[in-house]
C-alpha cells in the first residue's frame, strides 16, 4: 500500500557524521557488494569494462567544496543514500504498491516483483536515493539492510547495515530515532544533526552531523600560554642556553 503510515513504531535510520567521513567509498562498495548478493535481483553493471560503465548503487559519495567568507575553501565528503523519510513522496507516487513504508520500523522498501519500473518514485525523490537497475529494470534503493538487521543467523553485533559495519572511521551510525536514548538520537542531540532539504517537506529520518568548526590557519590569534607550572619556562634574557641550565638544574 503506497499510503504512508501516520506513525511508525520505530524509526530506524542512519546518522552520517560529516566531520568524520574521509570519503573513502567503503560504505558504498560494501553496500553494493552485500545487496547485489542479498536482494531479489543483483545490482547490475552495464558496459562494465567499456567506455561508459555504470551500474545501480544504493549509496554514493559526493565531494563538495565549501567556501566560507574570508577563509580557505574546505572539502566535505558526503555519502548519500535513502533517508527513509517520514513523509516519503517516493512511496505515495508509486502506482503499484511496490514502494512502501513499513509501519513497524519506518523502512522504505520496494517489492521488486511488483515494480513496473516506471521510475516515478525516483522522480519524486529529491535526494537521488533511488536508481533503476540497468539490467533488472526495477527500482533499487537502500533497505537499511533489512535482511541483516533482522537476521537470525548473523551474530548480534552484525545485525546492522553493511555500510555501518564496514565504515572504517565510524562515520555512520544506525539506530532507532524514536528512542531518545538510542545512539543516533543522542548523537543528533549532541551534535546538532540536520535534515537535508527540509524545504521539500519529506521529513527525513536519516540525519547528518555537520562538520565541526575549523581552525583557520593564520586567522586566529595565539592561544593563551599554557599554565607555567606545567611546562618548562620560556627562555630568559640570557637566552636559550641559560634556560637550558635552569631546566637541567631542575632535573638534578
Amino acid at each position: 500500500m503506497t499510503s504512508l503510515p501516520a506513525t511508525t513504531e520505530r524509526r530506524l535510520g542512519l546518522v552520517i557524521d560529516l566531520d568524520t567521513c574521509v570519503g573513502c567509498h567503503a560504505c558504498a562498495v560494501n553496500c553494493k557488494e552485500w545487496n547485489s548478493g542479498a536482494q531479489d535481483s543483483p545490482l547490475s553493471d552495464v558496459d562494465a569494462y567499456g567506455a561508459d560503465p555504470s551500474g545501480a548503487w544504493l549509496n554514493r559519495i559526493h565531494t563538495f567544496e565549501v567556501t566560507p567568507e574570508g577563509a580557505p575553501a574546505q572539502i566535505v565528503h558526503f555519502p548519500k543514500s535513502c533517508l527513509h523519510c517520514d513523509d516519503a513522496p517516493c512511496v505515495t507516487v508509486c502506482p503499484t504498491g511496490a514502494s512502501h513504508k513499513r509501519s513497524e520500523d519506518g523502512i522504505v522498501l520496494v517489492t521488486e516483483d511488483m515494480c513496473i519500473g516506471c521510475g516515478l518514485c525516483a522522480w519524486a525523490c529529491p535526494y537521488g536515493a533511488r536508481e533503476m537497475d540497468p539490467v533488472e529494470n526495477v527500482m533499487k534503493k537502500c533497505t537499511l539492510c533489512v535482511d541483516r538487521i533482522y537476521s537470525e543467523t548473523l551474530a548480534e553485533e552484525d545485525r546492522i547495515p553493511a555500510c555501518v559495519r564496514t565504515c572504517p572511521s565510524s562515520a555512520r551510525h544506525f539506530g532507532d530515532f524514536n528512542d531518545p536514548t538510542s545512539n543516533v538520537s543522542v548523537l543528533v542531540a549532541a551534535r546538532g544533526g540536520i535534515d537535508l532539504m527540509p524545504e521539500m517537506g519529506t521529513k527525513p529520518v536519516n540525519k547528518y552531523l555537520p562538520p565541526r568548526p575549523k581552525t583557520n590557519a593564520a586567522t586566529r590569534t595565539d592561544p593563551a600560554r599554557p599554565a607555567a607550572a606545567c611546562q618548562p619556562d620560556t627562555p630568559r634574557p640570557e637566552g636559550f642556553l641559560g634556560w637550558l641550565d635552569a631546566a637541567l638544574d631542575r632535573l638534578g
Binding site: V66, F78, T96, I116, W123
Partner: protein, 303 residues
C-alpha cells in the same frame, strides 16, 4: 529531466485523443453517417490508446503494468491508468451505440467527457505533484495539459468530424492554449530550482559554512540519476526549439485556420493544421522535460 520519446509521444497523442473524445462525448457535431462516426471515434480512441501503449515502452516491466491500477488512493499515475481505461471503455460503448444506431447517448457522452478530462488532468498531475521539479509544480501544468488536449482535440474533431473549418472557436482554443503555455513558461522562467528555495546549500546542509560547490561526482561517469534527472540543455538549443514549437504548434495552425476559414479550403487542409499543432506539441513537450530542473541536480553540480 531526460526527455524520453515514449513519454513525449504518450502525453501529446493521448492528450489529443482524449481531447477529441471529450468533444465527442459533449456531442461535437459530426457530419456523415456511421462511417464518419467510426473514423472519428477511431481517431480519438486510437490516439489515446497509441499514447498509452507508447507509455508502456517507458516501463521496465510492462508485463506488470496491470499492477498500476491498484493504488488510486495515493498515486496520480494509478489514477491516470484507471481513468484512461474507464474512459476508453465508456467511450467504446458510446461509439458502438453511435455507429450501430446513429444516436449519441447524452448521459453516457457526458460521462465519457468527464472521464476524458479527468484522464488528461491526472496525466498532468503526475508531473504537477512533484515538489522535486518546481517548474512543474503548479496548477498551470494541468491547465496547459487540458487546454492543449482541448485545442488539439478540437482541430482533429473539426477536421475529421465535419470536414469543416474549426472556425473562430478553434482559433480561440489554440490561442488560449498557447496563452496558458506562455504563462507556464513565464512562471517556469521564474521558478527555476535556484528560485525555489532549494540550493546546494540546503541540499547538503552545509550552507552555514559557506558557498557549496560540487567538486567531484560520486562516480566519474554517468549514472541513472544523471541520465534521467540531470539533463542539461543548451540555452540556444532551447530557444530554437521553443520557436519551433510556437511556429508549428501555434502560428502555422492558426494561419492555416484563417486561410481555410477565408477560402473554404477542403478538409484535408484542416487536418494539416491539426498535424502541425501536434508536431509543435511534440517540441513543446520535449522542452517540458528537457528544461525541467530536478532537485537531484543540486547534488550533481547544478546551482
Amino acid at each position: 529531466m531526460h526527455p524520453a520519446i515514449s513519454v513525449i509521444f504518450f502525453t501529446v497523442a493521448s492528450g489529443a485523443g482524449f481531447g477529441l473524445i471529450f468533444l465527442l462525448g459533449l456531442g461535437f457535431p459530426v457530419g456523415g453517417g456511421a462511417g464518419r462516426a467510426f473514423a472519428v471515434s477511431l481517431a480519438g480512441g486510437g490516439l489515446a490508446v497509441a499514447g498509452l501503449i507508447a507509455s508502456t515502452f517507458h516501463l521496465g516491466h510492462p508485463e506488470r503494468a496491470w499492477r498500476a491500477l491498484s493504488q488510486w488512493r495515493s498515486s496520480w499515475l494509478s489514477r491516470e491508468g484507471i481513468a484512461a481505461i474507464a474512459t476508453l471503455g465508456l467511450f467504446g460503448i458510446y461509439a458502438l451505440v453511435w455507429m450501430w444506431s446513429g444516436s449519441r447517448l447524452q448521459i453516457l457522452g457526458l460521462l465519457v467527457s468527464l472521464g476524458a478530462a479527468a484522464t488528461v488532468f491526472t496525466t498532468a498531475m503526475i508531473y504537477a505533484q512533484l515538489r522535486t521539479v518546481p517548474q512543474w509544480k503548479t496548477r498551470l501544468t494541468p491547465a496547459v495539459y487540458l487546454s492543449f488536449a482541448l485545442a488539439s482535440g478540437w482541430l482533429l474533431a473539426s477536421a475529421l468530424g465535419n470536414h469543416a473549418a474549426p472556425g473562430p472557436w478553434g482559433i480561440a482554443l489554440v490561442i488560449l492554449a498557447w496563452a496558458m503555455k506562455w504563462a507556464w513558461w513565464v512562471r517556469a522562467g521564474r521558478t527555476r530550482l535556484a528560485d525555489s528555495g532549494s540550493s546546494p546549500e540546503t541540499a547538503t546542509g552545509l550552507g552555514f559554512i559557506g558557498k557549496v560547490r560540487l567538486l567531484e561526482r560520486p562516480h566519474s561517469g554517468e549514472n541513472y540519476l544523471t541520465r534521467e534527472m540531470v539533463h542539461v540543455i543548451g540555452r540556444k538549443h532551447a530557444r530554437k526549439l521553443r520557436g519551433l514549437a510556437l511556429a508549428l504548434g501555434a502560428v502555422l495552425p492558426v494561419a492555416i485556420l484563417i486561410i481555410t476559414a477565408l477560402t473554404n479550403a477542403p478538409a484535408p487542409v484542416n487536418l494539416l493544421a491539426a498535424l502541425s499543432m501536434l508536431a509543435g506539441l511534440l517540441a513543446e513537450r520535449w522542452l517540458f522535460f528537457a528544461e525541467a530542473e530536478h532537485a537531484v541536480s543540486l547534488y550533481y553540480g547544478n546551482r
